[in-house]
């Protein structure tokens, strides 16, 4: 399944018209120990580039933005009990939410894995 990345360090894995979204390994490394994650509830309508979730480390709270517009199917309930999953498995079990993609055209312009790797290397 194709996986895309944003300059705000979110990843989005697309499967047909649904997508799974999380933050990248680089992002969790920058944030440090995650102690709380607030994920959007099922049914929430999200707009591309707008706040979708909140991730809190010991030192700060950070917004996670929606890489594309869509309607939330589910938030990752596992993060409620174990927010550290974002540190240990950011690009797997530490996913944030799944949504139904409103406009697949919004995926254009997102980076693929290689481009994101170059982007991070340049930071």
């Amino acid at each position: 399944m194709p996986r895309y990345f944003t300059e705000e360090h979110e990843w989005i894995e697309v499967d047909g018209d649904t997508a799974t979204i999380g933050i990248t390994d680089y992002a969790q490394e920058q944030l440090g120990d995650i102690v709380f994650v607030e994920v959007p509830a099922a049914g929430t309508a999200l707009a591309k580039g707008k706040e979708a979730a909140v991730v809190e480390s010991v030192k700060a709270a950070s917004d996670v933005f929606a890489p594309v517009s869509g309607t939330v199917i589910e938030g990752n309930a596992a993060l409620e009990d174990d927010p550290a999953l974002v540190n240990t498995a950011p690009e797997a079990g530490g996913w944030f939410f799944r949504l139904t993609i409103a406009d697949p055209g919004e995926l254009e312009g997102l980076m693929d894995q290689a481009k994101y790797k170059d982007f991070v290397a340049g930071l």
Binding site: G32, V35, S57, V58, A61, F65
Partner: protein
């Protein structure tokens, strides 16, 4: 993803242990004009290590000052509400640099370092972010006969935690036995001279060690060679001091806050209450007598969502205060915060709500420290 807390300063200076921190894998950030280690292995692990063992903090950004001259105690008393003139040699007091209106310009430690037969001398440790303003304020207000010296060639290391004393005693035999909490001594270390205070900013027993910049790396290396000691970054320093209920200047204390609202009445000694003569004395003594309209309180929050600086505090539909610092407490497993709230809502057990990102989080006024202090008070069992 956006990180709201990290602010890059334009020109950052480097402290004596810069290379040492980097070699240990520290992530460096701008703080108080310096590049400083925010964390090494991770804030949670470093926090817990300090609560269980001993952590070494580099706080060389802080300002170390010496005030000397005949009448130095009285001159300081004109600027601080501490009873400096009765402070015995080797004793430390927490005090506040006050503005004319009684607002808090900085919080600091003052130690009587007068030598046997020498002229009066006091050692001040002030906050890094405020030290230049403090120096300016002191130069302006201290009489000409009093000399102010900025010890810019000295580093400051803090060794904190329940195993700190055992470690220090092993490295510097004989140094800990004589020292109780808020007492200070000198120690000869490898040809240099250390000033060692039994004090800190974590709520744990521990020491703050002033060392010549050129010797700082050697001392840090020597202390970290002990199995109980790991270097700890600023991130854990903040979460530890928050749990200990200790205010952070620039956040919980500002020129707009006064010692009574801040809950720092203990810093206004009995003698000074009687004698007055410190900046804003009239206003502060009135607040002591009548009570302050707002109070710094501790808040315990349910759940895991933290309330941070600036979050409004509500009682019903009325805002009654504002959070000045807050975060997740690793020791307690839930968020805690300090807030200034109207006195009517400041008593222990009061149920309040903190607004975070449009949500109302239930909070309860609780006593501080959130995590009990474990200072080594001499004479205490």
């Amino acid at each position: 993803m956006s990180d709201e807390a990290e602010v890059e300063a334009e020109v950052l200076e480097q402290l004596p242990l810069d290379a040492w921190h980097r070699a240990r894998g520290a992530r460096m950030v701008g703080f108080a004009g310096y590049e400083m280690p925010i964390q090494y292995e991770g804030i949670l692990a470093e926090h817990e290590w300090t609560r269980q063992h001993a952590g070494l903090f580099d706080v060389s950004h802080m300002g170390q000052l010496i005030v000397t001259g005949e009448g130095a105690a009285e001159a300081l008393e004109a600027l601080l509400p501490a009873d400096v003139s009765s402070l015995k040699r080797g004793r430390i007091r927490y005090s506040l640099l006050l503005g004319e209106d009684g607002g808090i310009l900085d919080d600091l430690m003052v130690t009587n370092v007068t030598r046997e037969g020498g002229e009066p001398a006091f050692y001040l440790v002030v906050n890094g972010a405020t030290k230049w303003d403090d120096i300016g304020h002191l130069r302006e207000h201290l009489p000409d006969a009093i000399t102010l010296t900025y010890l810019e060639d000295r580093a400051l290391l803090a060794l904190q935690g329940p195993e700190a004393a055992a470690v220090l005693e092993r490295v510097m035999p004989g140094v800990t036995g004589e020292l109780g909490f808020m007492q200070s001594t000198e120690y000869a270390f490898e040809g240099g001279h250390l000033a060692i205070a039994r004090s800190g900013y974590t709520g744990e027993d521990g020491f703050e060690i002033s060392v010549a910049a050129g010797q700082a790396e050697r001392l840090a290396e020597r202390l970290c060679a002990e199995a109980e000691v790991k270097p700890i970054g600023l991130g854990a320093r903040d979460s530890l001091r928050l749990e200990a209920g200790l205010p952070l200047y620039g956040h919980d204390l500002t020129p707009e806050t006064d010692p009574v609202s801040a809950g720092l009445e203990f810093a206004i000694s009995k003698a000074r209450r009687a004698r007055g003569g410190f900046p804003g004395a009239e206003h502060i003594l009135k607040l002591l007598d009548e009570g302050a309209p707002t109070r710094r309180v501790g808040l315990a929050l349910e759940g895991r969502m933290a309330a941070r600086e600036g979050a409004p505090v509500h009682a019903g539909d009325r805002q009654v205060g504002t959070v000045t610092s807050g975060g997740f407490s690793p020791t307690l497993g839930h968020p805690v915060a300090m807030a200034y709230v109207d006195a009517a809502h400041a008593s222990e057990g009061t149920a309040l709500e903190v607004e975070v990102r449009g949500k109302r989080l239930p909070a309860r006024v609780v006593p501080m420290p959130f995590v009990p202090h474990r200072y080594h008070r001499k004479g205490a069992v």
